[in-house]
Amino acid sequence: MSDRDSLLEAGQRNFRREHEADWRELEALLSKIERRSVTALSVDEAMRLPVLYRSALSSLSIARATSLDRALIAYLEPLCTRAYLIVYGVRTRAIDGVLGFFRTSWPGAVRTLWRETLVAVLLLVIGTLVGYFLVQNDPVWFRSFLPDSLGQGRSPSSSTAELSKFIYSGADVKGGWLSLFATTLFMHNSQVSIMCFALGFALGVPTAYLVVQNGLIIGALLAIYAEHGLTWNLVGWLMIHGTTELFAIVLAGAAGFRIGLATAFPGPRRRLAAASDAGRTAATVMIGVVLMLFFAGVLEGVGRQLIQSDVARYAIGTAMLLLWLGYFYLPRREVSDGR
């Protein structure tokens, strides 16, 4: 072999000898971050990370262009990808994310869904009216809107006393059971709301069905209570948690509609881009929806059992509604800390 050849060969070997220590150091740093967090790094290590990342990237480029050692490239590629995802992808402090969510992301996402929200409200109102008038004209409808599990023994043939007892019972229930009851309600409602969101992918049709169905249940209940002149009392019973819960369901429906609309009619953008934009806005709304349902569960499971006064129930329901409306829709200064 000529001198030139052995020089080139030596260059190849030196390439690896010179950089292998860097690669291993990078590997160790990445493992440390993945096992714990970025904050686990010391200042020196944090300063080293981008340097090592760029060095590994340039090694990968050199290896791809000059080396035929497949195992080396197969090692460098995932290493660089891992490093890239950490260097460019790691979140800032979690607390900033949480604050940003409540200050801008959530109300902002809710506001951008205002059209879908109006549609969902309309569907809920239509469902309520249809349920009300159908049951009023023919009480047989009641059973098809409220399965026994929801009706819990109430029916058009129930007496005024029975119906009234329902609204004011529960005061004697013990605390432990109340929280269990609240938990059950919360979990059931969040499952329904998540269905509303996810089924939006099927062009929003099942979502519309779920929202209307909620309206039908309310309408049917209203109809049999109105028969006995208990409308005022029932609305109080519904409102204490209902303004929060139904608002949440409406928002979940709106989130589902947004996904369905973007998937069906992406507009000038590519369908996938439109779908993922809509999905992320809708998901932001949904995080908040689950929180709202948690409040609603506490109000329904605990508050309603402890508070028996109609006026207090109305007051709490109205206050919650105003609170949510103000929080979501009141104009505010743009906070431009960026995403």
Binding site: L68, A198, A275, A278
Partner: protein
């Protein structure tokens, strides 16, 4: 991949160019790998929920005695929605919290070597992670609901309809499920690979015994070289012997050497030749390309 004539071209590779201008050529995870990861996660979640239940019952036992167990059975019988709710909540939180971590993967995905990344190559936002995981119940468990109540025509129709969700990953090249579509994510294979020793270095201590002529070296290209590399890194001695025999016959090398030592030395010689060509801008992809002068 544009900067490498020899990077493995695979239909599963996707371009992901870093701001530094290097294409990382990420690899889309297979449907099978994802099902495997999902199964591991589900087993972990159910075992965890069961363990917590047992621990809670054991903790309640000293105070309440068997009443705790009876109470639990009563809840399970008369409030089954509480049980399904707990399972739903734990699996949703499991997936969301783990995927929000620095690894972007649940334990199941880590074991299989998968990871969730944003399709645009940017940061994986919390909203994406939530979006893709809130879809999961519709995709996986809704078909099961219809499957359980199979019998009526409606259930059949429902099953057919929900199967579209379940099988969506098979209907697109990027193996995206509905959750990935709306979250703007995809799942990539990102295995942990240890650095392996350089076969050329392994050979160099012995290459004095093997002095190949330029004509003997100029037989193969990069494709054959890398196939030989895979063989040398493996443990299939029978295949090794066959290949050694073929190469000896082709280059007119006498029999008698140790197969592995011979192939290793030959690999080093061919690689040195081909890499020299690369440095001068001459690539020989396979034996059908012109030899490097």
């Amino acid at each position: 991949m544009a900067d490498s004539p020899f990077a493995p071209v695979s239909p599963k590779r996707r371009a992901l160019t870093t701001p530094e201008g290097v294409d990382l050529a990420i690899e889309i995870a297979s449907f099978g790998a994802r099902i495997g990861a999902f199964m591991i996660d589900m087993i972990c979640i159910y075992v965890l929920v069961m363990l917590v239940t047992v621990i809670v019952l054991l903790a309640l036992y000293p105070t309440y005695g068997y009443a705790a167990l009876v109470g639990f059975i009563m809840v399970a019988l008369f409030q089954p929605s509480l049980i399904t709710g707990v399972l739903f909540l734990s699996r949703t939180l499991w997936f969301i919290l783990f995927e929000m971590g620095a690894r972007g993967a649940t334990p199941g995905k880590r074991i299989i070597g998968l990871r969730v990344v944003a399709r645009d190559g940017g940061r994986l936002e919390a909203s994406s992670v939530v979006a893709r995981n809130l879809m999961r119940d519709v995709e996986v468990f809704l078909p099961l609901v219809f499957l359980v109540s199979l019998g009526s025509v409606y259930a059949m129709l429902g099953l057919g309809w929900t199967l579209i969700f379940l099988l969506l990953p098979l209907l697109n090249r990027d193996r995206m499920r509905a959750g990935d579509v709306i979250a703007g994510t995809w799942v990539i294979a990102l295995p942990r690979i240890r650095i392996r020793d350089d076969l050329s270095v392994r050979a160099s201590n012995r290459d004095l015994e093997f002095a190949f002529t330029p004509a003997q070296i100029a037989v193969y290209g990069a494709f054959e070289l890398q196939t030989l590399e895979a063989l040398l890194r493996g443990h299939d001695n029978k295949a090794l012997a066959t290949v050694a025999e073929v190469i000896r016959a082709k280059i007119g090398w006498p029999n008698g050497d140790d197969d592995r030592a011979f192939l290793n030395a030959y690999y080093a010689a061919v690689r040195a030749q081909l890499e020299k060509g690369l440095l001068f801008g001459k690539a020989r992809r396979s034996k059908y390309d012109a030899p490097i002068a």
